[in-house]
Structures are given as C-alpha cells and as structure tokens.
C-alpha cells in the first residue's frame, strides 16, 4: 500500500433549511459572484432567497447565470473577467456539478496569470484558487466536496478534468428538499453517477483497505435503494437525503482511502469523450459504457467484479469467479434497466459510426499518447474495442 492523502476541508451544512446558515458562512466575504445555470432558480425563488441572505450578511453580489450541463470554457472566461473587474472574493455556485465545476474553474482562473485551460490540458498545476462554495440543488456529481472540476472547451469540444486540493469548496449547503423536483431521468442518471464515483475507486490496481471496501459497498447498496425510492416518490425525504450525502461522500476521497491507486477512472475518461461529442447526461453515459468496460476487464481479472457483486447484489459465490463477475455485470445492467438508464450507447439515441469510434478513442488517448485505467490499462486500441462493444 502506498500513501493516501485524505483532505476534505469543506464545511458541510446538511438538512432541511440548511440555507439559514448562509449568513454565518459568508461572514468576512465582501463581494460574491452568484453563479448558476438556467432561470429555474430565478423562478422558484431560490435565487432571491440566497441573495437576500447575502445582503443580510453585508455581502455585495453580482450574478452570472447560463451554465449548461458539460459546462463551457467561454462562460468561465467571462466569469474570470467579471470577478477581476468587480473584485469578487467568493464564487458561490447555486446548482449541481456543472455549476460547481464552472465556479471552480473561475476560481482557478482568477488566481492565475496565464490561460486557465493550461490546468485542464495539463500544461500547469493550480497553486491557488479564489474561494468557492455551493448551494446544492442536484445531488450527483459530488463536486461540492471534491477536488475535481471538468470543463468543456468549445474549441475542439475537448472535455477535460483538473484535480487539485486548492479547489475544494469552502462550504456546501446541502438541503435535500431542494432536490425533490429533479425529474425521473435526471434522478436515475444521478443515481448512476453517484454509484460510479465509488465504483471507479473500488477498481484499484493493487491492495485495498477492507474498511474502504466495506464502506463502499454499504454506500452502493444504500444508493441503489434510495435511487429507486426517489423514482417512486420524488419528495421522499429519506431517499433524497441519502442520495445527497452519498453524492458528497462518493467523490470526496473517502472511497479510495488506503487503496493503492485513486481508482480506475477509465469509464469516466471514455464517457468524457462521448459527452464532449454528443452532450449526454454524464450518469447516463457512464451507465452506457460501464458494462462493456467491465466485460473487457473481466477477461483479464474477474476478482474485484465477483467480490463487488456478492457485496452489493447479494449474489451467492458460485465457486467460479468469472461466472460471478459476469453475473455482477448482468445485475448492474438489470438495475440500470429498472431505473430507466441505458446499458449501451445506442440507448442514448446515438448510433456510433466506426469513424466516430476511431475519433473518440483517438481523442481519449490524447492521440495515442496516453493509456487510461488502473485496474486494467487501456491503450487506444482497447478504448476502440470498449466503445465498439458499448455501441
């Protein structure tokens, strides 16, 4: 086992009415960029609630809306310029992972003299960030506690991530009741997204900590149950609460603690290319790719797949590890189908051509210059094979 760092400085306020704590959390900040997506939060009153509380705390604010799923670099650049011009000292995201990721990228950019895309194209490493924080309205991406930000550069439609502790949000306001109105498809995609953040970490290349494995499978079982409950009843408070806190825990580092690698992440990389090209919901894209990635890996090493299935789907070990691993993937597919998620890319309404498969694998491998994955390393040819199987 190598060394693992665990660092989650985000102050989380969790529960119905958590927004009431905003004034004390923003104490000391003078000017806040209120960053958000669609006008929905303007219409449902949340925007006014937040800005009133900021004013109550004596903080000035300016708005910047318009964040879209798979958030764009052009809006980030606008945000950076705005923060500089207005002397902003806190970027407050109201939304889900896309808005939070956009806020983090703005935070990086304001604290950097060069082009913020340098961090996402791995030309530079972030050393600082303007403070960011979050009022979460969608529990899925886990960006509210994570060290991760994923941005799409319209110039080439490159979707790239940047990980750094300096972008971990200062605080996160987690009120599960704000997610009651999330539509069924997004709820199902969110369920898969949360699961995948834990499953990516589960597929470590070397030794894992039993405690981490056991916490991971406890979280996965809870999330599947809560996802189905929230689909039956959107305002199921217990289910929405479990999903919300699971989204944070799934991506804050806890689920890789003590493991030899930070996880596999090949599916995430494959999905990033897909949603960069087609703009699909991240969780749905992951559901469409994972089974084919899993079957590709099982041929090389079925062990972790078999263990996972016995833990989260209560499969009885058959004595044949490859068979148990295969049953795990089928159980995952059954679950996805049950909650209305695709298990192939065609289920996203995309009919991939051979040429597109080549393009995706070529971009994902940085033109053949990198492999992805840790449980199993995938080169460009392997990526093509997984995309083709997932077609």
């Amino acid at each position: 086992m190598g060394l693992t760092k665990y660092y989650t400085p985000t102050k989380v306020i969790f529960g119905e009415g958590a927004l009431s704590q905003l004034p004390s959390l923003v104490k000391g900040y003078k000017k806040v960029l209120v960053h958000y997506g669609s006008d929905r939060i303007r219409k449902n009153g949340l925007f006014d609630q937040v800005t009133s509380l900021l004013e109550e705390a004596g903080a000035k604010w300016i708005p910047l809306g318009g964040v879209v799923p798979n958030p764009r670099l052009s809006l980030v650049r606008e945000g950076i310029a705005l923060c500089r011009k207005e002397g902003v000292d806190l970027v407050l995201a109201i939304g889900g992972g896309s808005v939070m990721d956009s806020a983090k990228c703005i935070g990086y950019g304001v604290s950097y003299d060069g082009d913020v895309w340098d961090f996402y194209s791995q030309k530079a490493t972030p050393q600082a960030s303007l403070p960011t924080a979050c009022v979460l309205t969608m529990a899925a991406a886990g960006s509210e506690m994570s060290d991760s930000s994923v941005i799409t550069n319209e110039d080439g439609w490159l979707k790239r991530g940047c990980n750094s502790d300096v972008c971990r949000p200062r605080f996160a306001i987690l009120d599960p009741t704000l997610t009651y109105t999330l539509p069924p498809y997004q709820t199902a995609a969110a369920t898969v997204d949360i699961m995948m953040h834990t499953m990516e970490r589960y597929f470590t290349s070397g030794e894992s900590l039993a405690l981490t494995d056991n916490l991971a499978t406890a979280l996965l079982r809870t999330v599947m149950e809560a996802g189905e409950a929230a689909l039956r009843k959107g305002d199921d408070k217990k289910a929405r609460s479990d999903l919300m806190w699971a989204s944070s825990l799934s991506h804050n580092g806890l689920m890789a603690m003590g493991n030899d690698t930070r996880g596999d992440w090949a599916c995430h990389q494959l999905e990033h290319e897909l949603s960069g090209m087609f703009d699909v919901a991240h969780g749905a894209g992951l559901a469409a790719i994972w089974p084919s990635w899993a079957r590709y890996c099982i041929a090389r090493d079925p062990s972790r797949f078999a263990k996972l299935g016995c833990s989260i789907f209560s499969l009885k070990p058959s004595g044949d590890m490859a068979a148990d691993a295969k049953a795990t993937v089928e159980a995952f597919e059954d679950f996805c189908t049950r909650i209305g998620m695709p298990i192939r890319i065609s289920g996203l309404g995309i009919d991939l051509t051979e040429e597109q498969i080549d393009q995706l694998a070529h971009k994902c491998s940085f033109e053949g210059k990198r492999t992805i994955g840790a449980y199993l390393k995938l080169d460009e040819a392997a990526m093509r094979e997984v995309y083709r199987a997932a077609k």
Copy 2:
C-alpha cells in the same frame, strides 16, 4: 431531521512511511512543541525521527513529555506556559488520544487569557486554538480528527470533555506500522473504544440517515474482524490499517451525519467518572458499562438495539424485538469476552461500594443538575442504577 454540520479539515496522510510527509506539512511553522507520553518513543527512535524531520523543514522544537493515560491538567498548564515563553506556533502530539487531547488543551489555553479549565467546566466556549497536529502511535480515541478533548483535573479528579471545531488538528500522520507493538490488552481496549465512538452516535434519539446507519454497521463489522486479527498477529498490516483509519472515522463526525442528535454519549459520561476515580483504560471501562446501560435502555425502547444486532452480529430477526435487542447485548458481551475485555466493572479489578456508586452518579450528574444520554435520558437515580447493574 435537524441540521448537521460536518467539518473535518484535518489533512490526513495514511500508510506505511507517512512520516516522510512531515517536512511539507510543517512548512511555515517556526517553533514546534513536541508533546508526548512515556520515554518509549525516545527509545524506539521515533522521537529522533520526528525532530530530525522538523529540523530538516527549518522548524525549531522543544520537547514536553510525560502525558499519562487520562491526561492531566497540571501538565497542560506547564505546556501553556512553555508555549508562551518559547513562542510556539504548533503543538505536535506524538502518541495516541491522551497526548492529542493534552495538545488540544494546550492549544486552547495559549489562545485564551483566562483559565483553560473554563472550557471543560462549561464556563466558556473556545474561540480559537494554537494549531495542533499529530503523529499517531495508537489507534483508538480518534482524537486525531475529532473536535473533542478530555482532560482530568487533579483538583477533585474531575474528568471533563470539551468539544469545539477550533481544536480539530491541522494534520494527522497515520502510519499503521507504528501500532504493531501495541500490547494485546491495549489493542482490545482500542477495538472497543473505536466501536463505542460509532455506537454512541448510532443511538440517536430521533431519525437517522440510512446511509449513516449502513456506514456505521460496515465500520463496526470491519473493526471487530480487524481487532481479532490484530490480537492474533500484532503486525497484521491490513488489520492495523483498518483499525487506524476506523479510529479516525469513528470520531470525526461521519457516523452521526444526518442523525437527529450527535448520539447518546451516556456510556462515555459514566465511564469518564469511573476512569477519573480509578484510572482505567477508557475502552475497557466502556466495555464494562455498555451492557448494563443497554439493558437499562432496552426496557424502554429495544428498536435500535435489535437493528444493530441484526446488522453487525448477523442475528436473524426473531419477530420479538425485545428478544433481538437482548441477543444483541449478549453478542456484544461474547465479543468482549473473546477479546479479553471486561463486561462488568468487577472485570476491571474494581469492587465498587454503594458509597462509590453514589459518588460516581453524583459527580456524573453534576450534583444532580444534569441528565445524560439522548436515546434515553438518565438522571442521577438512573445513573446509580446503571452503575449498580454494571458492578
């Protein structure tokens, strides 16, 4: 459900050789108080390793050893004076919970004009603390990430706790190999101590989050298995790793997330009086009290006990909740007996007199002025009853 705050800013470095990260962690600190217990760490070389790394990082240091289990206020006062005189800006604990708790109390004291005991006698609330940090050599108390510090005032032998986010350590170096030599009795007491920090939180008075319940039971099962493995083989790396990380997670707040109360804590209060009077190992004291506390509570509400037993001892629900609850306590007693822990106070070598029982209950109830517990509130008479049953 009310609001829960989750705030764990401690930077954790986990794994064999974690000490190598010390120089980067102390960057910026100029003078370090190296706080420790017995001379064991002087003899085994750890003290020299730590101080060499401090010097390598350009930090000056002064030593203060002599912390004992159930750490004393008099040494804390010495530490406060020393820090002021020497201009210390970081208190680094090398040890387990006692040394860390002592370091936290020194941290409070240096940042306060009044008497530091004010915080422990609830006359004042800490507003600040000198930074503290930890090189952990014993995994049990979880103080390395917690907001808690427990100190014994020799004037009246009062053992009192103080909880505040301002005392959360800046960093914690968690190298499981440093705990290989922990003797069996301490390893068993540590196992119970870790379990109890989660079990106290499990016994919330109102609603609990399913995710938290499931993480808690996953942790408890893992800890029981790891505890027994570490007793069989002191240098079992996997077991020591599980115990070490579980000690932190059990007491950093995770295990109460989303629950209506921060937990019950009656057993802790009852044990604090006991170990204030008799200086017993905290985990052993908890093992001696919990079964009697549990039976006292079961008569009023067996539900959480029954649920716990089904989850962690794989008891089959019998349909009779009170019977399942009773079976849970018996299974806990079996486990304690198996690892060499007492299940009554007599097992600590203490033959409590009626007069002592009265004294303990009187002190624990702050002379009849407070109740303890959340799952069930205990007044002075109830405390007497539990002590007597646990005798």
